[in-house]
Amino acid sequence: MLKNLVVKKPQTTQDQRWLWLSGSMLLICLLLVAALLFLIGVKGLSYFWPSDHTEGVWKSFFQNIGFFLTQAPMDHNQSGGIFPALFGTVTMVLLMTLFVTPIGVLSAVYLSEFATQNSFTRLLRIAIYNLAGVPSIVFGVFGLIFFVYILGGSIDQLFFSDNLPTPTYGTPGLIWVSLTLALLTLPVVIVATEEGLSRIPENYRSGCLALGATQSEMLWKVVLPLTTPAMLTGVILAIARAAGEVAPLMLVGVVRSAPELPIDSTFPFLHLDRNVMHLGYHIFDLGMQSPVGSDVMPIVFAASLVLITLVLMLNLTAIIIRQGLRRRFHQYSQQQ
């Protein structure tokens, strides 16, 4: 009887084999990430590296970087700097932040503090979370038909009818880019803020109410200030996502070369109707559509390096803030 229960040969060798295989897969993932970072880093930096190694190599290296970041492109974008693209990216992303932060925070506060938690809000929440997974190009198409054609077209008819048929707002432009990006990143902000709100220990809320505060006072003076880092994380993640996004922007107002910056000294200073340049689109355009072909590789790698540095720095900031936040509230949830 007992014989059947005795394991004759422990399966450790076979087991270990699988263990090592899965470990190797993890290493392959890490190696791929590292290789890509290394490739872009080396290729990008070598664009700035001065060709003559006589004197002051480092000085001219940094000068090259400065030149690249602050000068306008020349020769059909194939040489010179990327300043308008960088400036356009930053402008549209900041404008987007103005739209998305209040709306996102408001919706998150409503969803987690006010709405009754029934199956309808559950579905609504799932739907909003899933908007983050909807292809960005769909948002681009929506932006094109709703913002540009319908909203922009009616603004033109109401306020700029003297300029018609030349469209003012009924054509792709900065404001539509920012609004489309805001739509695209709204779920990111809502999710992050909701997560932050759910991490505030319940006894903070009951403590406030017990001391006689109204619900709005509790939210304004205790809960929302504590959630600020979470909101910040959400906004930073939204910015990181928006900065790397290209596909929807191609439809709503990003161009290969814009004659003017969206902000200048002529009234009204911020030109919402202008076309803008964008770093990601700059890379796409140079990489895919330049006539010379592989001659532009170095400058595209340099631009990619700038874009990736921007996005990675934003992501890292968000991760650091989030880690700090988790550690901070960890102790409270332990005490409960």
Binding site: D15, C29, L32, L219, M297
Partner: protein, 553 residues
């Protein structure tokens, strides 16, 4: 007691009102935002509805500036009647706009013939499709300029509007003039002038803005002008107005699913095995930095990945195809083999099996990668005459530089962190007690993971794959830059593709607002949206159920 703590009733009232206003404001604002968000996609759907509206022939009773309208007489429409060019065709037949197909009235119904320009000598006409018509005696036909539509009428005054491409009868109306002598079409193809026997006239407006769209041309093989057999074709614009637009979603859908499939084939084993190792075998301190390091891959802008795929990887893979394929296929097998050898050797040397450490694994992995790469080259030299791409071409397999393999690799890399992260979350939240129980009953660590933890987390891992799949379906930039964008209906690994998303990025800025092309593109965006949204919702529901189940332990 103390005066300082007393709060005046008016201040209390002020606070209460402020609270009320604040709460109502948030409720109102948030509900309107959420409703607006939902209505976005209702709006997208709404924009496609005109496609499905049926065409009409409207009585134009109001005054028409007749002098502004140029009419095409039947004789002006073509230089030569089809009967003169092809004697086998009966005399009442007409050329459609563009002179590349003929509509012939026969005793059984109307028949469309296509001119086959590839064979000049024998049977130059191809039977395309037939249209049913009840009364055929004395039927006369008029082609509509600017489109592939035509009109049939008989002396009794029954006027029928057809569209040749879709093979549909769009509208049918009884003319107010009876008996009917002649029907003329305006040169823009939007008005009909009916003339009776006694000379009285009547105008009809042709209201068929999206006649060239039909659900069956989207999904079925279809025979178009200039083609020999029915096929799935997506070709929306050309520089002539004789062009027949061809809307088939099949090549685009195949391209989308093919790209996503190859990406998943690459990403799933990598991400899931890596997630198992991270969640189940790494100490907490290592896990804390390894997970964000893999998730870093998610932060790469896809435009950069697309650029690297299209400009760097595609030429490189074409050059070293055999090496890449053997790296992909042989590495896991060789890894197992080498580990077994290493294991035996280690036991022989030290008397105990090696403890798994990332450093040792890295060394073994690098050796394996080197060997499998080299092996690929040897295999190529031995079996494929030293050039796999050339050999493939000889076998009749078309090799494109920008192909499914490049897309699979790079898009697989792009969705790998998503699947990894979610699968790892699912595994790490499996209650520790389950695993400990399994181990206490004598399972080895790997057995505990495979037999107990994996089945428990299976739903979560499935959800992770679904979300990765959804991501791959909608990915645009990588496909736009590295897939070649040719809309072919082909599942081959070495052939290019065009996905729905890339197609939108290419064509949406150029489509004329309100045209059929524009609305078909919106329809494809709606389809893409619904597909990914359903997939994500399913995944979210699965995940939610899973976590509710865990809470019991």
């Amino acid at each position: 007691m103390n005066q300082g703590y007393a709060i005046s009733p008016s201040y209390q009232r002020y606070r209460r009102i402020k609270d009320l206003l604040f709460r109502q404001f948030i409720r109102l604002a948030a509900v309107s935002v959420l409703l607006a968000l939902v209505s976005l996609f209702v709006f997208l759907f709404w924009e496609t509805l005109p496609l499905f509206r049926s065409a009409k022939l409207v009585d134009q009773t109001s005054e028409i500036q007749v002098q502004d309208i140029t009419l095409l007489s039947e004789a002006e429409q073509t230089t030569l009647s089809p009967h003169q060019a092809y004697p086998q065709i009966s005399a009442g037949s007409i050329w459609l706009h563009g002179d590349r197909s003929i509509i012939e009235p026969t005793p059984t119904g109307l028949i469309q013939w296509l001119v086959d320009s590839s064979h000049q000598t024998e049977s130059p006409l191809i039977l395309a499709r037939s249209f049913n018509h009840a009364r055929l005696d004395e039927l006369r036909l008029v082609a509509i300029p600017g489109s592939k539509g035509f009109i049939s009428f008989d002396p009794n005054g029954l006027i029928t509007l057809y569209h040749a491409t879709t093979g549909r009868i769009l509208a049918r109306t009884q003319s107010p003039i009876n008996p009917l002598h002649a029907v003329e079409v305006s040169s823009l193809g939007d008005l009909l002038k009916l003339t009776g026997e006694s000379g009285q006239t009547q105008w009809l407006q042709i209201n068929a803005p999206h006649a060239e769209f039909s659900w069956s041309t989207l999904w079925r093989p279809w025979l178009y002008e200039g083609h020999q057999q029915a096929d799935f074709i997506w070709q929306t614009t050309a520089n002539t107005d004789r062009f027949e637009p061809k809307f088939s979603f099949v090549p685009l859908s195949i391209g989308t699913f093919k790209a996503a499939f190859y990406a998943l084939v690459f990403a799933i084993p990598l991400a899931i095995l890596a997630a198992i190792y991270t969640a189940c075998f790494l100490p907490e301190s290592t896990r804390a930095w390894i997970k964000p390091a893999v998730e870093l891959a998610e932060a790469f802008p896809t435009v950069v990945l697309g650029f690297i795929a299209g400009m760097l990887l595609a030429p490189l893979i074409e050059l070293h195809l055999a090496r890449v394929l053997s790296l992909l296929m042989l590495t896991p097998l060789l890894l197992m083999l080498f580990y077994t050898l290493f294991h035996r050797f280690f036991i022989h040397l030290k008397g105990r099996p090696p403890t798994p450490s990332l450093l040792l694994m890295l060394m073994l992995l690098l050796v394996t990668l080197l060997i499998s790469g080299g092996l690929g080259q040897q295999i190529e030299a031995l079996f494929f005459q030293g050039d796999l791409v050339e050999w493939l071409n000889q076998q009749g397999i078309d090799y494109r530089q920008r192909n499914g393999l490049v897309i699979g690799l790079v898009m697989g890399f792009a969705i790998m962190p998503v699947i990894f992260s979610l699968a790892e979350d699912a595994l790490i939240s499996v209650p520790e007690s389950l695993r400990q129980g399994a181990m206490a009953l004598g399972a080895s660590p790997w057995q505990a993971v495979v037999k107990v933890m994996l089945p428990t987390a299976a739903a979560g891992i499935f959800a992770a794959i679904m979300i990765g799949f959804g991501r791959a379906l909608g990915e645009t930039m990588i496909l736009l830059m590295a897939s070649g964008n040719s809309p072919v209906s082909d599942f081959s690994l070495f052939e290019g593709m065009r996905s729905l998303a890339a197609n939108l990025a290419i064509e949406a800025p150029e489509a004329m607002q309100g045209s059929t092309h524009y609305r078909v593109l919106i329809l494809s965006a709606t389809l893409l949206f619904m597909l990914t949204f359903l997939m994500n919702t399913l995944a979210a529901l699965v995940r939610e159920n899973l976590y509710r189940r865990y809470r019991r332990y």
